[in-house]
Amino acid sequence: MDDGSEYSKRLSARIEEDAKKIFHCSQCEFTEPFHYKGRNPPFKRTVWLKEDSYVNKDPFVPRGEGLFVVLGSDCSVCDQQVCQNPGCSVFYERRICLPCFKANKRDFPEKLVAKVASKE
């Protein structure tokens, strides 16, 4: 057996283990098991994310394409899980949940604050 298959075996074992973990958005109750948490999903090594994220393999395309979907990440202020829905969190270099964003409005550019406010 060559290294490649050994690696993919380990990989799939880890993915399976990870699958037991569940992501739960503190804002909208969105709940979903996730496959991986981190910046460099094992199913697509060539992509780096800017923050540690909860990632699932893309369920809508055949496996092996290496596509993925980011569910969300931990809020950089309160550390709670929050999904990437615009009604739940804002991403500005880091993920921040909407309540924390509102509490710290002054630290963000006005335009962003206005944009978020307009969406509500």
């Binding site: 780096w48 800017k50 369920p59 809508f60 991403f91 962003l112």
Partner: protein
């Protein structure tokens, strides 16, 4: 100016999109990316031109960090990496190299795109979860899970649209249950539910959710939820009586009360005691739910889930009787369309769904509606019924363009089976065509009748799924009130044969005492039992025969099952598989196939004057040959189009041919699974052949994947398209959308080829030929045996009548006609009795004496406007009767025979009848023996070859002899009045009070006290028929044995015993020699009258007998 990246597409492609970059070159995403890029460019140039709206960007704010996309060797700056791959360009050329800033910008766009994709994907996922949460059943999740954990049976009563079918299995899965079986009454629902649930559990490309239906499965060890048909679960119970493979059984749609669903309920009720850990979940509509809880002793918790329906207004709009002679009048329907046009502005969306009883009605209304649509340009008229192709059916789900409504005209298929979105108006005719089965005459009847109140409500409900709606009922409120509450369950109206056979083979001794939720008539159960006995599946004492046991395991109806078994016994499986398949799928001939003279003449070569089964078989092998002709060299598109036009020219629907192929594979699989067939060792392939085959297959697979992806199959199903209105008519698929539909045909072709290679096809064609006499004899014998007792006799006044006016009589139903789409109805000249001799004294007046009398066997009898025989074939009369009839009654002289109490044969020469009887009895014995040998060895693969071939030889020999027999006789149908006086009965004065004693110590046959004769074997009763005025006398100087020429005896019984002994010896002795010769002549010459040695032999014997008589 904005920079147009797409001008340098090739440069960027090479620089950025490698095989393992974030976006793989050539992938769907790659294509989407360039579309995205184009849009971005357009947007930018617009904002640059306007200048006013340009705001400072909040970028870079993407989640995905593209500046440092890693390469396989590690992290690397993507732009730096890309520069090295940028193709070289001459700085002076018209297209200068791309500046480095642009590369950075491009990387930025990639990040933007990936970010956008992430948002899209996430939105899709979140939307899905939200939709699930919004289903009416969602709030009951914890209740359901708790009940299932704590009770053995739970009933979930919810109306359509509450989400029970898709959600309940998922709730159970989430709650930790793992081996879940969900039954569905329809196989199509199994597949679509499996796809949907897999999608919702994000398992679309995994195998946690699977399905298994007859002939098809998508199930692995990892499968935790399996959707399967009720019938399949029943068969699993046969092999696994306590269903150890499942922890939870969910029975969906139990209120539909299908035959097998009812049976399953009864079995599960019994199983509850044996398996205390088994969980049963019943799911039904809210109607009549008490019935199910009562059935389970009222211990069942119920979860009531209201469906989600908008208010629906009901308008009673009775039709003033305009109907003439059963013809439906379209005017009330058109009036409603007109009224909708007047009352509701075209901008208000909302489509119309019309429920009619059958296809003829649908066509009639659709024609009128199309005319109306042409005038108004505001309608698209669509039909929906089960005989449309899938593509045509799909169109009913497409969306009408703005300002146009679609009007779907449907049978009750749209009542529960399929759901069409966007319906606002329902028009309910209040009628339905129901198939009922009359077990006394074994006729299927398609009868129009009023629907039940439950289905009227169901139809109404279809108007309120997307918004408030209106239901027009074309009957009065009183009529509605007077409807029955529920439609009659299937168990009350279909053939119970298969059900009873399954029960008996499962060990249910008394079907009458089975805990049915609703008991069928005891007379129906009894008739089913009788039918099973006549099929040889059950012994008269109620035990299952070996054949019956096999039949119960085969997931096909009894006749097809018998065909397959007989095909195995006589090692003619290939042909039988094809015949069984062509008989199972719908008639492939289109409506015009007999009307269009071009089609008829193009098809001439495929005709067989023997009847539909043989013609269909010819057709199928010719089609296969055509498929093979266009070898693998040409493109798949060319291949599929040539066979398509080949079919079209002949008036054959190619779709059916693919179905036959599929069916054949499935039958093959069944036979293999039943282990009844000796598995031939797979043929050796050379390594090169194998490589070619594998290569071919993988190419085809790839094509198929690509195709499915394009069509969006396997995911959310087919995308709804916007319909095109063209004079109110929808573009027909053939020419207009040839690109698209061509693809579908291509897909079928590819699928076909994936399953088999050219050599296999050749093999089938080779085996499907019925060109030798012996082949024909075998095929007829197998068919006749399998379809017995469905035989019909021609009316004596049929000659020279048109095909559709030819009258036939079956045992229980006189005066039936041939179905007009049948082959024989269109070629009545082959049905004429040939070479009749004038009436001889001693024969009923007007009876024809011939050696060519024939009967018709028919696969089914269907009554629509009148009773029709379907799928008929000609069989020689006396030969078939002697070989297959369950009861043969013989008169004192062996000249008159009555079969099964309704068909009478009189021979001009009693010796010939005697001889036929003897040889046929011998063949029957061997047949049974061969069957037993085969069944005994089933699965063990070690048939006792020697014994088998010895029996086979005698059998083949006898069979050929019988079919070559050309004795002359008359054939007549007996009426009920004849039957009353035909037997001596127990107290009647029999011609002889006992039989003459045999010289050797042969036991005297048993006396049959009902008929008043002696039982020579289990099917022959001798001397039970009374003398009638016409009974022929014996030759005065006694009988002479036709075999040994020197035995003279005046008592027919002694003669019979002598010939039995003498002939048998002859058969045994001449056996080897004769067998060889017939076989050779059989393969070399297909002429039925060819003088093979067997004929010569028979002629000689007959001649001797005849000479005697003339003296």
């Amino acid at each position: 100016m904005a920079f147009d990246f797409s001008k340098y597409r090739r440069d960027f492609d090479t620089a950025f999109f490698t095989d393992n970059s974030a976006i793989r070159f050539g992938s769907e995403e790659h294509k989407d990316f360039w579309v995205f890029c184009e849009k971005l460019y357009k947007l930018k140039s617009r904002t640059l031109a306007g200048r006013s709206r340009s705001k400072g960007d909040l970028n870079p704010n993407h989640l995905v960090c593209v500046e440092c996309i890693a390469s396989s060797s590690g992290r690397k700056w993507v732009v730096e990496d890309a520069i090295t791959r940028m193709p070289f360009r001459d700085p002076d050329s018209s297209k200068p190299p791309v500046p480095v800033e642009r590369l950075k910008e491009f990387a930025e766009i990639i990040a933007k795109f990936l970010d956008f994709m992430q948002k899209e994907k996430f939105r899709k996922l979140r939307k899905l979860r939200e939709a699930q949460k919004n289903l009416p059943i969602a709030e009951h999740e914890s209740d359901i899970v708790n009940y299932v954990k704590n009770f053995p049976v739970v009933l979930i009563a919810g109306d359509t649209g509450c989400g029970k079918s898709t959600q309940v299995p998922q709730y159970l899965l989430k709650a930790g249950f793992s081996r879940i079986a969900c039954t569905q009454p329809r196989r199509i629902a199994c597949i679509s539910l499996c796809q949907r649930v897999a999608y919702e559990t994000l398992n679309q490309y995994g195998d946690e959710v699977g399905y298994q239906v007859r002939f098809e499965r998508a199930k692995t060890k990892a499968t935790r939820i399996v959707f399967l048909t009720e019938g399949l679960l029943l068969r699993q119970i046969v092999g696994d009586p306590t269903l150890t493979q499942y922890d939870v059984i969910v029975l969906d749609e139990v209120h539909e009360r299908h035959l097998q669903g009812d049976f399953l309920l009864g079995i599960l009720k019994c199983l509850m005691y044996k398996r205390k850990d088994l969980k049963i979940v019943l799911m039904s509509a809210t109607i009549n739910s008490e019935m199910f809880t009562d059935y389970f002793f009222n211990l069942t918790p119920i979860v009531q889930v209201p469906g989600r329906l908008y208010p629906i207004e009901v308008v009673y709009w009775p039709v003033v009787s305009e109907e003439k002679a059963g013809r439906i009048s379209p005017s009330p329907y058109i009036r409603i369309l007109h009224m909708i046009d007047e009352k509701y502005p075209a901008e208000e969306r909302g489509d119309v769904l019309i429920f009619l009883s059958g296809m003829a009605e649908i066509t009639a209304i659709a024609d009128a509606a199309k005319e109306y649509a042409q005038k108004t340009n505001r309608w698209i008229i669509l039909q929906l019924h089960s005989s449309l192709s899938i593509e045509e059916q799909d169109r009913a789900f497409d969306i009408a363009p703005d300002g146009v409504r679609k009007c779907v005209i449907s049978t009750n298929i749209a009542e529960t089976s399929v759901t069409i979105d966007g319906i606002r108006f329902v028009v309910d005719s209040g009628k339905v065509k129901e198939m009922t089965f009359d077990p006394t005459t074994r006729t299927e009847k398609l009868k129009e009748c009023m629907i039940s109140r439950a289905s009227a409500e169901q139809r109404k409900g279809r108007a309120g799924r997307t918004g408030p709606g209106i239901c027009y009922r074309l009957y009065t409120r009183e009529e509605f009130e007077s409807m029955t509450d529920f439609s009659a369950p299937e168990i009350m109206r279909t053939s119970l044969d298969s059900l009873v056979l399954q029960m008996v083979s499962m060990g249910v001794k008394e079907p009458l005492s089975f805990p049915f939720i609703q008991k069928p008539d005891s007379s129906r159960l009894k008739l089913a039992m009788e039918s099973l006995i006549s099929h040889g599946a059950v012994e008269p004492n109620g035990t299952v025969t070996t054949v019956g046991g096999l039949l119960a395991m085969l997931p096909v109806d009894i006749m097809v099952g018998k065909l397959l078994i007989n095909g195995c016994v006589f090692e003619r499986l290939d042909k039988v598989l094809s015949i069984a398949s062509v008989l199972t799928v719908q008639n492939p001939l289109t409506n015009k196939s007999y009307r269009d003279p071009d089609c008829v003449s193009a098809r001439k070569a495929l005709m067989s004057d023997q009847g539909d089964p043989f013609m269909l078989l010819n057709m199928y092998s010719a089609w296969l040959a055509e498929k093979n002709k266009t070898g693998t060299g040409s493109s798949s598109r060319e291949r599929s189009s040539t066979t398509r036009s080949w079919c079209k020219r002949r008036g054959i629907e190619e779709q059916r041919m693919y179905e036959v192929t599929k069916m054949r594979d499935q039958f093959m699989q069944i036979v293999k699974e039943s282990e009844f067939l000796d598995q031939a060792a797979p043929k050796q392939e050379t390594a090169a052949q194998r490589r070619i085959r594998i290569g071919e297959r993988s190419m085809l697979h790839q094509w198929m994947r690509e195709f499915k992806r394009k069509r969006g199959l396997g995911g959310e199903g087919r995308k709804r398209k916007v319909l095109k209105a063209r004079d109110g008519e929808v573009a027909s698929d053939d020419e207009e959308t040839s690109g698209k539909s061509g693809n579908i045909h291509e897909a079928k072709d590819v699928e076909f080829r994936m399953r088999r290679n050219a050599a296999e096809i050749k093999n089938i064609i080779e085996h499907d030929k019925v060109d030798s006499f012996q082949d024909m004899v075998f095929m007829k014998a197998i068919l006749t045996a399998s379809i017995y007792p469905q035989w019909a006799i021609a009316d004596p006044h049929n000659n020279y009548k048109a095909g559709t006016e030819q009258m036939y009589h079956t045992k229980d139903k006189p005066f039936v006609t041939l179905h007009p789409m049948g082959m024989l109805a269109n070629n009545p000249e082959v049905l004429r009795v040939g070479s009749c001799e004038p009436t001889v004294a001693g024969f009923p007046p007007g009876s024809q004496i011939s050696n060519k009398h024939e009967l018709l066997l028919y696969l089914s009898m269907m009554e629509t406007t009148r009773p029709f025989l379907m799928n008929t074939a000609r069989i020689p009369a006396a030969q078939s009767l002697f070989l297959f009839a369950l009861n043969t009654d013989v008169d004192h002289n062996f000249s008159r025979y009555v079969f099964d109490g309704w068909l009478e044969v009189r021979f001009t020469n009693p010796l010939e009848g005697m001889q036929l009887l003897i040889v046929a009895s011998e063949v029957r014995v061997r047949w049974k023996k061969l069957l037993d040998l085969k069944i005994m060895s089933a699965g063990r693969n070690n048939v006792n070859r020697k014994e088998y071939s010895r029996n086979e030889k005698i059998f083949v020999n006898g069979l050929v002899q019988i079919y070559l027999n050309d004795s002359t006789y008359s054939l007549r149908r007996l009426l009920a009045a004849d039957a009353k006086t035909m037997y001596y009965g127990h107290d009647g004065t029999s011609s002889s009070s006992h039989l003459p004693e045999m010289p050797d110590d042969l036991n005297e046959p048993e006396f049959d006290s009902i008929k008043g004769g002696w039982k020579l074997s289990d099917h022959v009763t001798y001397d039970c028929l009374t003398y009638d005025a016409l009974s022929s006398a014996l030759p005065e100087d006694g009988l002479l044995c036709p075999c040994c020429d020197d035995f003279n005896e005046d008592h027919p019984y002694l003669m019979y015993r002598h010939i039995e002994y003498c002939c048998k010896e002859r058969i045994d002795q001449t056996d080897l020699d004769l067998g060889e010769r017939t076989r050779r002549s059989g393969s070399s010459d297909s002429d039925e009258d060819g003088t093979s040695s067997a004929t010569a032999l028979l002629r000689k014997r007959k001649f001797q007998g005849g000479e005697r008589k003339d003296v």
